[in-house]
Symmetry: none
């Protein structure tokens, strides 16, 4: 047994302190001092040493166990408004992905929601320029590749000419894009020229371009467009004007409407426009 003499080694004391912390999540300095038969000065020194090694959290009067609930706040999504429509759109888009696919994830809250659902798939290679998506996928088993580029704070994405060289070296099966606005004449549009530039580069390197846009984006243009010769293969939305849908399908753009009744089996339920 470990019932050594009266002397306690530093390592041994730390073990006992951790034991006390494990028993009750917080302990006072005086309690530790009494339990281990050490002066409070020594206890404080030990606590500080252990705190500096990340073993516990120091609080006034004692110590508390370190909560492991922190992997999230790296890129905290504070303004993330959960939306049922975006959730349905993301779920519909998810069914387009297969195991072993190589996909690109753009910025935007809808695409981010899709990123959260990727645990159900296996062995993906995920390329993204969104730090929010990257933070979400950090612990996932998938292969994760980030494009470089200049950090744009508002969208938390990496954009601009510096993202170009790395995009030239890769080809993705499917690119899932977000946007600020979408019109048939101008395609996707956004508020930042660098962001538009990067979107264009991504679409050039994708075998299939899939746009995730809720109904509020359709028909409006933002500041910068991605150029006149835009390219799109699939549009996933929650509701769409019948006329716009026809125009898109004339251009061989498949339209998937993730309506209220069709959440899981979105691909099958596209025949019904849910306005």
């Amino acid at each position: 047994m470990s019932g050594n003499g009266h002397k306690l080694l530093t390592a041994e004391r730390e073990q006992r302190i951790m034991q006390l912390l494990h028993d009750s999540d917080v302990v006072t300095v005086s309690a530790i001092s009494e339990a281990l038969g050490m002066s409070e000065a020594t206890v404080r020194r030990d606590l500080q040493a252990m705190h500096e090694r990340g073993l516990l959290e120091r609080v006034h009067g004692g110590a508390a166990i370190k909560q492991e609930s922190s992997p999230e706040p790296l890129f905290s999504d504070k303004e993330e408004q959960f939306s049922a429509e975006k959730q349905r759109i993301a779920a519909a888009a998810l069914s387009l992905i297969h195991d072993h696919d190589t996909i690109f994830l753009d910025g935007g809250s809808t695409v981010l929601m899709l990123a959260r659902m990727l645990d159900s798939l296996k062995a993906l290679t995920i390329v993204t320029n969104s730090l929010m998506a990257a933070a979400q996928l950090m612990e996932s088993p998938h292969r994760l590749i980030l494009t470089g580029g200049e950090f744009r704070a508002i969208s938390r994405t990496l954009v601009g000419p510096l993202s170009s060289p790395i995009l030239k070296n890769i080809v993705v099966d499917k690119a899932f894009m977000g946007t600020m606005g979408f019109t048939i004449s101008d395609g996707m549009s956004t508020t930042d020229a660098n962001e538009a530039y990067t979107k264009t580069r991504v679409m050039e390197r994708a075998r299939q371009v899939i746009l995730l846009a809720d109904r509020s984006k359709l028909g409006c243009s933002s500041f910068v467009t991605c150029g006149p010769d835009w390219h799109l293969d699939v549009l996933v939305t929650d509701a769409i004007d019948i006329k716009m849908r026809q125009e898109l399908e004339e251009r061989d753009i498949r339209v998937i409407v993730a309506g209220k009744n069709a959440t899981a089996k979105a691909t099958a339920g596209t025949a019904r426009a849910n306005q």
Copy 2:
């Protein structure tokens, strides 16, 4: 040639000591001395010999079993590991940066600590491959650029050949590097080949290479080295062997030791600057 007598052989003593260590994770020198019936001087000699062979961990007053878990945390966010030494090293490195500089920040907890201090400077252009540093600098007013590349979960950095094209397009004034080990013969070394590759590319594109490494890194090599023709301009550390220092200075590598005496000035200065 080895007369097996009634006295305890060295090998036999070591076995007994390991047995004691196995029973309770820590034992005092006096306890071993009493248990094996020999002087404390001999016990200390044995413990040192065993420590040098990596069989146990030496602590003041005795010995502890060697824990395999400590050297590299797998997934936990141990970057919160505050260390006074690393803090001092980062503070010393901070004084090398000037307003309007273009700097590169590598991965590693010491460099991350430096990233936290950059608020006191103005109009920096910061290039980094560390997601932790990026998260830290997200809200800063500086221009922030991320290299792309494959995401390495353990270090939370972007590494590998895909980071190469973007690094070819930029030149930084100062590159602040972290490392797992550093020797004069091999330079920096790390545990991952892709990470070593990216480090090498970065150092090629930096006018000045500055290594931040606490004393535990000096003199040891990790798995992969950055190549024989390594290049370094400044080493910032908390303590260094006098012989190694001379060898470095013969190679025109400046050595900055952020010792305890420099703490008061350095931290006081930065604390005030941060306010």
